[in-house]
């Protein structure tokens, strides 16, 4: 008998990935890594979405599968902007260390 993929495992995987993403974002000083961590966390949420969608009947699960598609599109755009910003900051500051950036402090 085929092993049915338990929804719980998907969520656990999503949680693990999310945790990794957050830890990367918080612990690394390199802005690129921070961005990547955020990206990872975002994808974990997508995964969680899909995982939950699977628990629903087919006609209802469609919403849960479409939302990640939106999120992926948005995330792509966000990644573009984010990278562009980081590059601009690097050009101006010659640094990719997130600790150097505290303009919002005023």
């Amino acid at each position: 008998m085929e092993m049915e993929l338990q929804a719980m495992y998907v969520q656990i995987l999503a949680l693990v990935i999310f945790a990794i993403g957050i830890i990367v974002a918080v612990s690394r000083r390199n802005v690129f890594f921070v961005l990547m961590g955020v990206e990872l966390a975002l994808n974990a949420v997508n995964l969680s979405f899909v995982g939950f969608a699977k628990t629903l009947p087919a006609d209802l699960s469609i919403a849960g599968q479409i939302v990640p598609l939106f999120t992926i599109a948005v995330a792509a755009a966000e990644a573009c902007v984010g990278l562009a910003m980081v590059i601009m900051i690097f050009r101006n500051r010659e640094s990719v260390d997130s600790n150097d950036f505290s303009n919002l402090k005023g």
Partner: protein
């Protein structure tokens, strides 16, 4: 032949102004400037055309005058005024000498302004002035008169400041305009009061006359308390029928304030002597013959109203008397030939106001008429003297010009005889008439008469001084300048001679003691009814007595002048021609008074600038600082590191989740 349309008269100078203005503007870039002959011809043509139209209309004027409503001007709720013209005996006589003398002075100016950089501009202004002046006297409503009223004020400003590279001329021009503005606001408020009392229709002179006569027919509370009524109206804004006449008195006072501004009476008179900064033809036309007499014209025009408010008439008489006396004495102290004439103008205007104050509007207009001739002749003569001396205006540096410039001297001496009231000359008839009317006016009459007569003596003294210092004795200027003295060109002499004729003969239109009353009969349809309202002293005095006393006053004054300055050696002048010491105190008394007002306004402005404004700015700063402090406070929550920020927010989320799990929701 049917008559010309009335709007032809103001149209010509208006076209002239536009054409000459365009020429001035276009040629302003070029070095050479437009041809003076061409510009001069144009600038005389348009006033002359206006004069011709007036003459033509004068011959065809029916008894009641010509009225023509042109079009609607302002039409809004509460306020509806038409543009209309009224050509009656009063406006006819005013128009005749305004356009006539205007034309003469335009001719004179061609010679006087020769070679000036702003030649075309000057004539554009002169034409604009004539347009405004014509509108002033030709209009059939107060509002349109006000257009001319401020228009002439504007032209006066432009022409006083004509040589605008000298900042002092500009200051004199500004002063003239602002002081006139004060008077104009009086005029404006007067119109507003009339509007409130009787609606905007009574701004029309005919409607006003019928309105006043209906009020007079209804009777009113004699001696109602004007002051109380005014304050009542001030605080409540209501005008009940029983206080209409007191309110009319206030309106009359407001109009009179307007007149004091335009006609340089106490207290708004300081601008006229300063206005001598303008070119001399301007002084002759605007500040002697025409514009300054518009106040007298307005009093005559509103005579129906003024005779209903005797309180204000008394005020007018007193103001006229004080002005006449004060200016005559100030005239004694002047060394500048134009300043003497300026103060004499103020003094003569005082006579006119005195006459209007005793409800002798016809004789005051008659004095306006004769004064226009002799004062214009005097100013043009003075201009010719200044011209021949290359700009010298200090009389102490003149003398003996009789032989060098005989024509000018003759013109000025004839005009001098007219102003002092030498028998047979124009001023004799008009001034005597005024003195006679003053005497007959009522219980205060003899006092006014004596005041007028005394002023006449002083007039003869200071005018005699002017003539003696200028034309008799020996020349006191430098040797080099003496060689250059020359008679003025013909363009200047011809108008002077024509005006001198007027100065000699104009008075014969109303030679009262000879029984010639042409002028009086002519004006009777306009002011006759009004003058009959107030009672006159019935006691008849032989007019020959007045004539004799007037002649004696003139001769006495001339005698004093000759005795004091005729043989005396006048030291060569040093320094400024302005009077010094006590003379300055007297001359500039009203300037000091104005100075106080100006200082008060300046002080208030300073206070507003440095105090009120600072408070407002401080309030602004306070609000901004509070916002800033609050903002800083919030910003302190902003920690330094981005990663820490993320971690904290994560911790916050976790904490929230835990709380929710433990309590089952916060709420």
């Amino acid at each position: 032949m049917t008559n010309l349309p009335l709007w032809f008269i103001p149209l010509f100078p208006l076209i002239g102004c536009i054409v000459l203005g365009a020429i001035a503007l276009i040629s302003s870039g070029s070095k050479k400037g437009p041809s003076e002959g061409f510009v001069g011809a144009l600038s005389v043509l348009f006033p002359a055309l206006a004069f011709a139209s007036v003459v033509l209309l004068s011959f065809n004027m029916p008894e009641g005058g010509i009225r023509a409503t042109l079009c609607n001007w302002i039409d809004i709720p509460m306020f509806k005024v038409d543009i209309g013209f009224l050509f009656d005996a009063l406006s006819r006589i005013m128009l005749l000498f305004v356009t006539g003398i205007g034309t003469l002075i335009a001719i004179y100016s061609i010679g006087y302004m020769h070679g000036d950089r702003g030649f075309a501009r000057f004539f554009a202004y002169i034409n604009l002035f004539l347009f405004s002046m014509i509108v002033l006297v030709l209009s059939d409503s107060l509002l349109l008169t006000f257009l001319g009223w401020e228009g002439v004020g504007l032209c006066s400003y432009l022409l006083i400041g004509f040589w605008n590279h000298d900042i002092n001329n500009c200051k004199a021009a500004n002063k003239a305009f602002i002081v006139n503005r004060v008077g104009d606001i009086g005029f404006l408020l007067g119109m507003l009061i009339l509007c409130v009392v009787g609606g905007s229709t009574i701004l029309n002179y005919d409607a006003l006359t019928s309105f006043i006569s209906s009020i007079a027919a209804g009777g009113y509370a004699e001696g109602a308390d004007v002051v109380k009524a005014f304050f009542n109206a001030l605080f409540t804004g209501t005008f009940t029928p029983d206080i209409v006449v007191p309110i009319l008195s206030i309106a009359g006072l407001c109009f009179f304030i307007g007149c004091t501004g335009k006609s340089a009476q106490i207290p708004l008179l300081t601008w006229l002597p300063d206005a001598m900064a303008g070119p001399t033809p301007v002084s002759a036309l605007i500040h002697a013959a025409t514009m300054v007499t518009s106040g007298v014209y307005l009093l005559a025009r509103l005579s129906t109203m003024f005779v209903q408010i005797p309180v204000i008439l008394d005020v007018i008489t007193w103001v006229g008397l004080l002005t006449a006396f004060w200016a005559a004495v100030a005239g004694l102290f002047q060394n500048d030939i134009k300043k003497v004439l300026a103060y004499s103008t103020v003094s003569q205007l005082g006579y006119m106001f005195m006459a209007a104050g005793v409800a002798a509007f016809d004789s005051s207009i008659f004095h306006v008429f004769t004064h226009a001739f002799f004062k214009a002749a005097l100013f043009l003569g003075a201009g010719a003297v200044i011209h021949s001396l290359a700009g010298e205006q200090d009389m102490r540096k003149m003398g003996g010009l009789l032989k060098k410039t005989p024509v000018t001297a003759c013109v000025m001496i004839f005009a001098f005889l007219a102003i002092v009231g030498f028998p047979g000359f124009a001023g004799f008839w008009s001034k005597d008439l005024i003195l006679e009317r003053l005497y007959m006016s009522g219980p205060m009459g003899p006092f006014f008469y004596v005041g007028g007569l005394l002023t006449a003596v002083i007039t003869a003294v200071y005018m005699g001084r002017l003539i003696v210092l200028t034309f008799f004795g020996s020349y006191r200027g430098s040797k080099e300048s003496e060689a250059h003295i020359h008679e003025a060109p013909a363009t200047m002499l011809i108008p002077m001679v024509v005006l001198a004729f007027g100065a000699v003969f104009a008075g014969w239109l109303w030679a009262d003691s000879m029984g010639i009353k042409y002028f009086e009969e002519m004006l009777a349809p306009v002011v006759g009814a009004a003058q009959a309202v107030l009672p006159h002293n019935a006691a008849h005095v032989n007019p020959m007595v007045f004539a004799g006393l007037g002649t004696l006053a003139a001769l006495f004054g001339m005698g004093i002048a000759w005795a004091k300055w005729g043989k005396a050696r006048i030291p060569a002048a040093k320094g400024s021609s302005a009077p010094q010491g006590k003379m300055a105190t007297w001359t500039f008394f009203w300037d000091y008074v104005h100075g106080v007002v100006v200082t008060v306004v300046d002080a208030i402005a300073w206070f507003v600038d440095n105090f009120v404004d600072k408070i407002v700015q401080f309030a602004q700063w306070l609000v901004a600082s509070i916002a800033e402090i609050l903002g800083d406070g919030v910003a302190s929550f902003q920690v330094r590191k981005v990663r820490l920020q993320i971690a904290l927010s994560l911790a916050g989320v976790v904490a929230l989740v835990i709380v929710v799990l433990l309590t089952g929701g916060l709420i």
